[in-house]
């Protein structure tokens, strides 16, 4: 395994440090040349630290590439960004603590993102080589704990808001509602959908025993994607419909308006994402196959293709447009900032709910679905 290599990482780290030093020298000596001042600033506080952080992340990834050590760089990047953001946010901006502020900004916007990028690039390089060589990557010994760290990091920017009611209304209550709805209804809906297929003439086959769901970082993060995308679509739709009807329920700044739109959509998000989230996961992992006696084919149970495919198209094309007109007053830049804000809000809610569901509900649900179908005599045990 040639790359990622420690040598490349050290070279990048050293270059980054040199660029930062060059920026510092420029800031000392070029007071008279105005255009060089911002260049010096960017070298010292942005490009230099970013390249050094990329190099550091590369070194970490290179230490044990097959044991997915790039996950450490990834988690470090997210935590450093979130902590730097929280620290710079909690301090009033003034001259006395300017250098401290700048350091926190550098951690939040340069070091953190660079570590994340380094981890992502390293994972692509490693996975490409692994897939070519036909090797299987080993498990990282901390993979099970990293999802919890990632969730905590998502909440970290709001550490100063723990006494604010809005924090609980927007970031805690939606998690409880979503998880509760999933926990109560996911198995029932999955069983009902499978039963409908059996009634329609398909034969349900218990091809494999249900797979036990893991709460590894990638499992939780990737599974959070669909509920988050669905929530984004619902939120934008609610905001747009209210705007079209001339109903101004929010009356505050666009950030509060967007957060309120997301909040109002909680129940719709929880119920809707039940179908594109937990039901889909249960279908994937219950080990049941659907046999079509007419076409003689055996397939995995699926959710409707429209729900599967339309979510992304609708959400990511419509959201920027919808938000621009409904809450950002025609300001596209503001709409994109709002989009980032809502994506963070919904991803935090979605990932936490997904973690809770995978940790406490899914394994029971998998067995419940299989047992109910067995009890009703709808499940064939033998492969056809």
């Amino acid at each position: 395994m040639a790359e990622p290599s420690v040598r490349t990482g050290v070279a990048l780290l050293g270059t980054g440090v040199l660029i930062a030093l060059l920026g510092y020298m420029l800031s000392l000596f070029v007071h008279g040349i105005l255009w060089l001042v911002p260049v010096g600033f960017v070298f010292m506080f942005d490009a230099g630290p970013a390249l050094a952080a990329f190099g550091l992340g590369w070194i970490i990834s290179a230490l044990h590439p097959l044991r997915k050590w790039y996950l450490y760089s990834l988690i470090a990047g997210v935590v450093i960004s979130a902590a730097g953001f929280a620290a710079s946010w909690s301090m009033p901006l003034n001259q006395e603590i300017w250098s401290y502020q700048q350091l926190m900004m550098t951690l939040a916007w340069s070091v953190g993102p660079s570590l994340v990028l380094s981890a992502v690039v390293a994972s692509i390089v490693i996975n490409r080589r692994v897939s070519k060589a036909g090797i299987v990557l080993q498990r990282n010994m901390h993979e099970d704990e990293m999802d919890v760290v990632l969730i905590l990091a998502l909440y970290l920017p709001f550490i100063t808001l723990v006494t604010n009611l809005n924090f609980y209304l927007r970031y805690v209550l939606p998690v409880a509602v979503t998880w509760l709805v999933w926990h109560l209804f996911a198995d029932k809906l999955s069983t009902w959908l499978l039963k409908r297929q059996a009634v329609a003439g398909a034969i349900l086959v218990a091809a494999e025993p249900p797979k036990t769901e893991e709460t590894t970082i990638f499992n939780v993060a990737s599974r959070s994607y669909y509920p988050m995308a669905f929530g984004l679509g619902v939120t934008t739709t609610v905001a747009s419909v209210l705007d079209l009807l001339g109903i101004n329920l929010f009356g505050e700044d666009p950030f509060s308006a967007s957060a309120n739109a997301a909040f109002i959509s909680i129940l719709a998000i929880a119920l809707g994402s039940l179908y594109v989230g937990p039901v889909l996961w249960l279908f994937e992992d219950c080990g049941i196959r659907v046999f079509n006696p007419v076409r003689k084919i055996l397939t995995e149970p699926k959710i409707h293709s429209l729900a599967d495919e339309m979510i992304e198209i609708y959400t990511f094309i419509f959201s920027p447009i919808g938000l621009t007109f409904s809450v950002a007053d025609g300001d596209l830049v503001l709409a994109l900032i709002l989009l980032a804000f809502i994506v963070h809000l919904l991803f935090t809610v979605s990932m936490t709910s997904t973690y809770l569901y995978l940790k406490f509900s899914v394994n029971k649900h998998l067995w419940k679905v299989v047992r109910r179908l067995e009890m009703e005599g709808l499940l064939t045990q033998k492969p056809l």
Partner: protein
């Protein structure tokens, strides 16, 4: 369980409801825009329209644009600025340097309203021609009136930067530094201006607070003597008789309230907190004098405060009106409330009452006795638009600040984060398409 879920949904629907709807404020402002556009279209072919009237239309249009923030009103504002700029730079309709070609009263009023318009336009658009007008007219006014904290070139540059700051723009550091130096150099003139009477002391406090806000935004340290002078002004205004007993002169008390709110907005240490406390108490004492239930009360007002915004009034009529009184619904008090509620939570719902009354998209709500002004509809709409644009500007301000902070961070001071974000999104797309590597 179902009951709990229904209750949760109902709670979600009830919690975010606000006191009044901003959409009705915007609709009323849009109707003011249409009215003004018609007025300007009617006079556009008329060569006799005075520069002062054009500048007044410009101030009205700038105020509407600050509230609406849309391209249509900006386009309209720019057209007026173009006409005003051409006339000022040609020296038509005013006498730069006060050489006696035009009667001094008319020339002074034209100078004041034109320079104020130019400052607003420059603050909103960074138009260099308007900046040039601020320089020319500011210097001309300084020549005639001497240096004052309210009408000098430095004061107008502060005003322009304050407008820029409030509407989500940035502060020009060089201009802010020039203004700070100018105020520090003219320390004695500020004291002389303020000690003339209570109204001028209030004006000085407003000017010093704006200077402080602009300087703070530009990371410029205020000289100690200016900061001390600002504090002294807060103490004096806080101890005014009308502040203790606003019933004596409601209009002056409303001006004092607005100046104290502006001082509190600087968030500059203990004195800003003190100004906020005094302003909160004063606003509560004024409430009973302002409305009874949902009925707004007319209070004694100087006639000049209406005629100043009347394009049909001559300078002579305006200055004569300085000594005359009339009755009108005060618009400074709700303006101060709209800004105060962004600094502290308030129990009062006077602002909601005013907005509900005034926000009629068809026609206008009469704010003063019929016959007090020559262009009644114009003045009524002018006064309404000033309040409504303030409400919208302060509603939009937090988002505008975040927007600009984010833009500044991503574009100028941290280009790496933008680059990383773009690369990550690109990699995510490639991964989704499945071209990065084959999955086992």
């Amino acid at each position: 369980m179902r009951k709990i879920l229904v209750l949760l949904l109902l709670a979600a629907l009830v919690i975010p409801v606000n006191g009044f709807e901003l959409s009705s404020v915007k609709d009323a402002l849009r109707s003011d825009y249409e009215y003004l556009r018609d007025v300007v279209e009617q006079v556009s072919g008329d060569g006799d329209v005075s520069l002062r009237a054009m500048a007044l239309h410009g101030i009205f249009a700038a105020s509407i644009h600050m509230g609406l923030g849309d391209a249509e009103s900006l386009n309209f504002l720019n057209k007026i600025a173009e006409q005003v700029g051409t006339r000022v730079l040609r020296g038509e309709g005013l006498d730069i340097g006060f050489t006696g070609k035009i009667p001094a009263a008319e020339n002074l009023l034209t100078h004041l309203q034109t320079v104020y318009f130019a400052a607003m336009h420059y603050g909103l658009t960074q138009n260099q021609r308007s900046r040039e007008m601020v320089d020319i007219l500011g210097e001309s006014l300084e020549k005639f009136l001497g240096w004052t904290p309210v009408y000098s070139r430095a004061a107008m540059l502060v005003q322009a930067n304050w407008v820029s700051l409030m509407t989500g723009g940035s502060v020009n550091r060089e201009e802010a530094q020039y203004a700070v130096n100018s105020y520090a150099e003219h320390f004695q003139e500020i004291v002389a201006f303020s000690t003339q009477n209570d109204a001028q002391l209030i004006q000085s406090l407003s000017a010093l607070s704006s200077l402080l806000s602009v300087a703070h935004e530009a990371n410029i340290e205020m000289p100690d003597e200016l900061a001390a002078l600002w504090m002294v002004h807060i103490e004096y205004v806080g101890n005014f008789t009308v502040v203790k007993n606003p019933g004596q002169d409601f209009e002056l008390a409303s001006r004092a309230l607005l100046a104290l709110v502006e001082a509190a907005e600087t968030r500059h240490g203990r004195y800003a907190s003190m100004a906020l406390d005094v302003a909160m108490n004063l606003s509560q004492r004024m409430e009973g004098l302002y409305r009874v239930g949902d009925r707004l009360l007319m209070v004694e007002t100087r006639l000049i405060d209406l005629l100043l915004y009347d394009p049909a009034a001559t300078a002579e009529q305006v200055f004569t009106a300085a000594q005359q009184k009339t009755s009108a619904i005060n618009m400074i008090y709700p303006t101060a409330l709209a800004r105060l509620r962004k600094l502290a939570s308030m129990q009062s719902n006077s602002l909601e009452v005013v907005v509900t009354k005034l926000s009629t998209a068809k026609g206008y709500y009469p704010l003063f006795e019929s016959g007090a002004a020559l262009s009644e509809e114009y003045v009524n709409r002018f006064l309404r638009s000033s309040l409504f644009s303030t409400i919208l500007v302060f509603e939009r301000k937090p988002a505008a600040e975040v927007r600009n902070l984010a833009l500044e961070r991503f574009v100028s001071s941290s280009p790496v984060s933008t680059g990383v974000l773009i690369v990550l999104v690109l990699l995510a797309l490639l991964n989704r398409v499945g071209v990065l590597y084959k999955r086992g």
